[in-house]
């Protein structure tokens, strides 16, 4: 699925940029001599902007990844201590009634549950710096249970959907920007945000569970045939 999305995003972007450029060159060719500084072809055309953006994104990707390393090391260190001491198992047991339903494939006191719980808690508190490392720790633990290492497991997808529709108690950056632009009541968005995010989580989880049920049934009938 991601293959298709990726492919079409790139292809359509190229077509749209090329189409816009052709249209602009035909309808309004730029004057040969302009008063001020003339924009280079690379800056003026959509295709030029697109190439610049693509090349720049590679650098951004590296910057984000490298920026994660320090905070990643910190949280992985703390989590390792908690794991060795058995604290993660205690956490996992506390939420067992919920996780049993959401993640039927995961053993009850598996370390992945503790990490997922910590990730969701960090997201709720708006600690996005801590949420990503904890989420990646959870993925690492889920990968240990995954029979096919190149393919996402049901538990991974369930976790990811919970994560992308994460309920945040304080959407801090949105509130900060509202305040800086002179909002009378910047935190007014808290309750609507929680309601919208809850709706997203419900729809996401329902979708995931329906697909999992459907696939299970398909597999069963295939087995009988």
């Amino acid at each position: 699925m991601l293959n298709h999305i990726w492919f079409w995003m790139i292809m359509l972007s190229l077509f749209v940029a090329a189409g816009t450029d052709i249209y602009n060159e035909i309808t309004a060719p730029p004057p040969m001599e302009t008063a001020g500084e003339e924009l280079s072809l690379n800056k003026r055309t959509k295709l030029g902007q697109l190439s610049d953006a693509a090349l720049e994104s590679a650098q951004t990707g590296v910057n984000i990844s490298l920026g994660l390393i320090g905070i990643m090391a910190l949280w992985l260190g703390i989590m390792k201590v908690a794991e060795e001491a058995g604290f993660i198992k205690i956490l996992a047991r506390m939420v067992a009634p919920i996780t049993r339903r959401l993640f039927p494939e995961i053993p009850e006191d598996h370390p992945s549950i503790g990490a997922m719980l910590m990730n969701i808690a960090a997201n709720m508190l708006g600690l996005s710096n801590a949420a990503t490392p904890l989420g990646l720790k959870a993925m690492e633990e889920l990968q240990k249970l995954n029979p096919d290492k190149e393919t996402a497991s049901n538990s991974m997808i369930t976790f990811l959907v919970i994560n992308t529709s994460a309920i945040t108690l304080i959407p801090a950056s949105a509130i900060a920007i509202r305040a800086s632009l002179g909002s009378v009541n910047p935190q007014q968005i808290i309750v609507p945000s929680i309601i919208a995010a809850t709706m997203a989580t419900i729809v996401g989880l329902t979708t995931v569970k329906l697909i999992q049920k459907f696939e299970k049934r398909k597999k069963r009938t295939e087995g009988e045939a």
Binding site: L2, M9, I10, L12, S13, A17, T20, K46, Q49, D52, A53, A54, S57, A58, T60, G61, S65, I69, M72, L76, I78, K80, V81, E84, A85, F87, A121, E140, Q143, N146, E150, T151, A152, M156, I157, L160, N163, T164, S165, A166, T168, L169, I170, P171, A174, I175, I177, R178, L181, S183, Q188, I190, P192, S193, A197, M199, A200, V203, G204, T207
Partner: protein, 179 residues
């Protein structure tokens, strides 16, 4: 409302000290060589950071091309009949379409909308609710699956996007009611 905010503010300030106290403290109580174990865990940080680079570059490249090409305008035009049905202002469409793709991009769109229409207008209010209630799904997909080397993501992308759509539509409706 004010007390709720105060509680949540304090909770987010106390969260990290509490976690460190509990986790490291419990480790010490259980006679774990805490320093050694911490360092051993932290070692993996570098590996994970480097491992996600190819996934992140692939994803960011497609998103950057998408943003630079002007596709957003075309999608906005295509989707406008649908959004008119729920009474969504057409100005909010770029925000909704950008949100799952790019955190910094949607932050920019949100700020722009609030500057133009005011943070307390319906459009500004809805845009910031949209930003606060959903995550950058494509970034999470790339980083989370990339960190464990999963390439076949099955139904993760459609399920995540469907959840986003539900959240964004709810944000529009709830803000209309709220206003």
């Amino acid at each position: 409302m004010e007390t709720l905010r105060l509680i949540i503010d304090w909770a987010s300030v106390l969260a990290i000290p509490t976690i460190i106290l509990l986790f490291i403290g419990y480790g010490g109580y259980k006679k774990i060589p805490v320093y050694e174990v911490f360092v051993e865990g932290a070692k993996e940080g570098f590996e994970v950071g480097v491992k996600i680079i190819p996934y992140l570059v692939a994803m960011l490249m497609a998103i950057a091309m998408f943003r630079a090409s002007g596709m957003l305008d075309i999608l906005t035009w295509l989707a406008s009949p649908v959004t008119n049905l729920i009474g969504m202002a057409p100005e909010l469409l770029p925000m909704a379409l950008m949100r799952p793709l790019s955190g910094s991009g949607s932050l920019g769109v949100m700020s722009e909308l609030m500057k133009t229409f005011g943070p307390d207008s319906l459009i500004g209010f809805t845009a910031s609710t949209m930003f606060g209630s959903t995550e950058t799904t494509f970034y999470v997909l790339a980083v989370y699956f990339g960190s464990v080397g999963v390439r076949k993501t099955r139904y993760a992308a459609p399920a995540g996007l469907l959840a986003d759509a539900a959240g964004l539509i709810t944000a529009v409706l709830i803000c209309q009611l709220w206003f």
